[in-house]
Amino acid sequence: MDIRRALSITKRIFRGLRNDKRTLGLMFIAPIIAIFVFGLAFSGDVKDVHVVVVNHDEGYHIPPAAVPVWISKMIISNLDKDVLKVDYVDTEEEGVKRVQKGGAYGLIIFPEHLTRDIYNKIQTPSLTLSTTIQVRLDKSNVNVANAVSKAVTDAVFKTVKEAGQEMPVVVDAEDAIYGKGAKFMDFFVPGIMAFVVFLLTTLLTLISFVGERTSGNLERLQATPLRESEIVIGYAIAFSIIGMLQTVVLLTIGVLVFNIMIVGNIFLAFLVIALLAVVSLSLGILLSSLAKREAQAIQFFPIIVLPTFLLAGIFWPVEAIPSWLRPLSYAIPPSYAVDATRSVMLRGWGAGGIWVDLVALFGFAVAFLGLAVWSLKRGRG
């Protein structure tokens, strides 16, 4: 193992990139597009849902006031305006028709004696009376339906609180141990970092190595004193640097545009990403031995993208994946990188906190590097 020869390979890759603007663009423009497209599209919040309100509430004269009050109106004014776009109809039938025609996702029905019943209940807690706000939804889209239910429940709680009434039980989830005030993007950026680096590194080394093979360059290299391990190490150095640069780009956008939170040591996150890049490029080299032409390499695309996209915990937690499928999540390297970068950036954990992830990634890196060297040597069969 001669590190100078390995570095010659690294230098060759960077020199090649200087004259290959397209690949360079893919390396650094693609992550930017990814963070914007995914970040904005998957922001996780449902917004601008049309609902109709059928308000039968007659209001109530609360003595000694001369004018009646409508609790229904207070609740409506407390509905989250970003989530719900409220429209009014007179009858339930009309509302249902509106939903059936696709003009709304649901209707909220306030009963006739809403205000009176609530007042009486407050005055005389022993009354067994209870009142119901009916929410009839189009549950064909579960996410939207859940967002509407939550908006209505939140508005009711807020109204009760504003009226100076105490809830008998309060659930307070504000004082978080980690990720206090975290938004979807805070959760998402570490995931997209791992995803982008894994995907691009694997694809670029795959394509680049198929090129090395078909162009005859690999054979010429193998006829020199260069060893296979030096080729792989040369690639590893180049692509871990590229992976870290991609991470810098993503984090810069994350901080400047999406105002993400980073509470941990960012260099530890870089280390994780560099390890993931080494795993990815080894995978790329391995797969390249199965492809005879660049076009065949493209066929590996879904094999690389889909499991990572679905199982690595980038968009939803591994806990949301059925337990029988979870072993697959633990079998793919990006899962560990996603978990580790998230723990570092949001929980502020150090190497001690993410040692399991580090060991797993290191193990994958060593194993995959070994396999990549083996696959190159096997060509000499």
Binding site: D2, S8, R220, A223, P225, R380, G381
Partner: protein, 244 residues
């Protein structure tokens, strides 16, 4: 083992599954000679060269280069290999392609620069040093590829079809290069399926379906087969082989 032979092979055989690419090849190639391996596509020429360069392992038999049994890493600095394919980094300049191989052979920066000057002059591309290889014509790429395999001054050069797809003028100049190298004492093993240019070799081996069917100086081979050129000689030999 006599040192005078640059290459010696004994019953070299290579099988890919049930397909025999090379069968019982026994060759002796003298130092400082230009030796041609001739034959149609699939005759086993490239397979033989790859085994000698350590890129393939023989299924049976053995090969020696400068008295050392291949594969042996210690031989690698003394040999140069020009693959059939262009085998250049297209997005790198001529200079950087040459420098890469110079570095891989552990040459100093100064020595690489000297060799680069010599080689660029040799292949008449002095003004193209900083141009990306992708901007060069096919013939120019061929010349750069030859230069890359010679940056480290190898004593033994393996050239796999160095003149395929090369126009007649450039082919003539390639043969001039080869003769210059020969005068410097460099051994050249090249493959070709152009029978006419094989006349320039000191010695040739005719391969057909992995089998060496004739070996010797081109003039000897034509004399033995009562023909006037190697093409006819090859056809005569092929027929004899089929009968046998």
């Amino acid at each position: 083992m006599k040192q005078s032979y640059a290459i010696e092979t004994k019953n070299l055989t290579k099988k890919f599954g049930s397909f025999t690419a090379l069968s019982d090849l026994s060759l002796k190639i003298e130092s400082g000679a230009i030796h041609g391996l001739l034959g149609p596509n699939g005759a086993g020429k490239t397979t033989a060269i790859k085994i000698l360069c350590g890129l393939l392992k023989p299924t049976a038999g053995e090969a020696y280069i400068f008295g050392k049994k291949v594969p042996d890493r210690s031989i690698l600095p003394q040999i140069g290999y020009m693959p059939q394919e262009t085998a250049l980094y297209l997005e790198l300049s001529v200079h950087h392609n040459l420098a890469l191989y110079g570095e891989l052979y552990g040459m100093s920066r100064g020595r690489i620069a000297e060799r680069e000057q010599e080689l660029l002059q040799f292949i008449a591309l002095e003004k193209w040093s900083d141009v990306p290889v992708s901007n060069l014509s096919g013939g120019m790429k061929h010349r750069v590829s030859l230069a890359c395999s010679m940056i480290h001054e190898p004593k033994l050069l393996f050239l796999d079809e160095p003149t395929v797809g090369v126009d007649p003028e450039l082919r003539a100049s390639f043969w001039e290069y080869f003769n210059v190298l020969k005068r410097k004492g460099i051994t050249i093993v090249l493959t070709t399926h152009y029978m006419d240019e094989a006349q320039h070799c000191d010695k040739i081996g005719l391969l057909r379906q992995g089998v060496l069917i004739a070996e010797g100086a081109p003039s000897d081979i034509t004399r033995q087969t009562n023909t006037t050129n190697l093409e006819d000689a090859f056809l005569v030999l092929s027929r004899q082989e089929v009968k046998a």
